[in-house]
């Protein structure tokens, strides 16, 4: 079963349609599917709803899909780094559904695990709870949050074998596994494709069953906040 594709555009072929729901991995600009975002820009698909913790920055990451006006709605926890996002949101061009970060991650995992709803105390007593079912355990209220079932997941890993088993590197793992799980189809970009057997079966972070198509390529991996300390004695 061939999972490896020659380019991001080929890997997405036949999968994109207007009005679809896409789940995207990444946190800030760390571990984002750069190549697949670029290919979606090129495809011209419209009216996307995108579930992603952040919305990229102006001109990079999901910011490119905002610049091109292909996104109708974002489901995110924090969008503070993107001026074009704010412009579109304040002008009413863009819908925004805020999710607490952990609720967003759990909603993705739940969708991928066949769980349509779960209870959490996150957001109880806040605007997030408005309109949601409430249930009480002990003396604590919990609100019902729903699983996210995405038409497509776009994610980025470090290395994958040709069957889709993959590993992530450091904090670039973040939302990528839950996003991958909740996609009806998952397309993954990686820095390196290896042969089956090259990854230790005990080290695999996301088994290939979740990964339908794979593309390898170069990543810019832009740093959002470069913070350093001084070397002692320098």
């Amino acid at each position: 079963m061939k999972k490896v594709y020659g380019s991001a555009a080929e890997a997405l072929e036949g999968l994109l349609k207007d009005d679809m729901l896409i789940a995207a991995g990444g946190f800030g600009l760390c571990g984002i599917p750069e190549m697949l975002i670029d290919a979606i820009v090129d495809s011209g698909v419209k009216n996307l709803t995108v579930a992603s913790n952040n919305a990229g920055v102006d001109g990079f990451g999901l910011g490119k899909l905002l610049d091109s006006r292909q996104i109708k709605k974002m489901m995110s926890s924090y969008v503070g780094e993107n001026a074009e996002f704010m412009r579109q949101y304040l002008s009413g061009e863009l819908e925004l559904e805020f999710n607490p970060q952990g609720t967003l991650a759990e909603r993705m995992r739940a969708g991928g695990c066949g769980i349509p709803g779960f209870y959490t105390k996150t957001g109880v007593g806040t605007v997030i709870a408005e309109g949601k079912d409430v249930k009480t355990w002990g003396d604590q209220d919990y609100i019902l949050e729903e699983g996210i079932f995405a038409d497509l997941a776009i994610v980025k890993a470090w290395k994958a074998d040709t069957t889709g088993n993959c590993i992530f590197r450091k904090t670039a793992r973040n939302f990528n596994p839950p996003a991958a799980m909740c996609g009806k189809i998952c397309v993954m970009e990686v820095e390196e494709i290896v042969q089956p057997g090259e990854l230790d079966p005990d080290h695999i972070h996301l088994p290939g069953i979740y990964v339908h198509r794979i593309v390898q390529g170069e990543h810019e991996k832009r740093i959002e906040q470069r913070t350093v300390r001084q070397r002692e004695g320098v």
């Binding site: 946190f27 805020f98 970060q101 759990e106 007593g125 450091k170 904090t171 350093v228 300390r229 001084q230």
Partner: protein
């Protein structure tokens, strides 16, 4: 006289005990790490890491290794990485002993507002709602009053809440207060601050 940012951070660090797993918010809470001394504290970064190390030396920045503030950081011997669902599972599940967070407003029943000012640009709550709902102890570190001199320690919050009844302890430039039945209890006053000064800067009910 009152505590400055570093003194507030140092006071907050006293809240931490050996063996604790702790989440530090952005701003003054970040400074707390400078004052834990030789206590065995493990810092969580909610984007998927336990055992957060200091900033890297110039040239050692790794784009795959950032904290929740998107800053480049380093790992330690004890570091473990995990995905965001697992990360917030441990937060929601009460495995993090304490979170030290900044705030815009805190009320006498422990309500916290720190994510949204209506009419202003809304950036999002990020992981703040999960943290205040889930961790063992929520410690707020903030200035006692705003730039206009109005109290940020209120009877009721005026801003949209991050969490309801979630704050355990408030550390400000003027002192330390606990959320208890009926209101706030003064734990201590900052250096050179009288109890009267602390009381008059506080809108919330202070109990005995």
């Amino acid at each position: 006289m009152a505590w400055d940012r570093n003194q507030m951070a140092a006071r907050a660090a006293q809240e931490l005990d050996d063996g604790m797993y702790v989440n530090l918010g952005i701003g003054i809470p970040t400074l707390v790490a400078n004052y834990v001394g030789d206590k065995d504290i493990t810092l969580q970064s909610e984007n998927g890491m336990l055992g957060m190390g200091p900033f890297p030396y110039e040239g050692d920045e790794d784009p795959d290794l950032i904290n929740a503030g998107k800053q480049t950081i380093t790992e330690m011997d004890r570091t473990a990485y995990f995905d965001s669902a697992t990360s917030f599972g441990m937060i929601r599940g009460g495995k993090i002993a304490a979170a030290i967070l900044g705030a815009m407003e805190v009320s006498e029943n422990g309500d916290l507002a720190n994510w949204m000012i209506p009419g202003k640009l809304v950036k999002g709550m990020g992981g703040a709602m999960d943290l205040v709902a889930g961790v063992g102890k929520v410690i707020v570190v903030m200035d006692h009053t705003n730039k206009h001199g109005a109290s940020k320690v209120l009877t009721d919050c005026t801003l949209p809440l991050t969490g309801k009844g979630v704050v355990d302890r408030i550390i400000t430039n003027l002192g330390v207060l606990d959320v208890v039945a009926g209101g706030l209890r003064i734990v201590e006053c900052a250096d050179g601050v009288t109890e009267q000064e602390l009381r008059s800067a506080t809108e919330a009910t202070i109990v005995s």
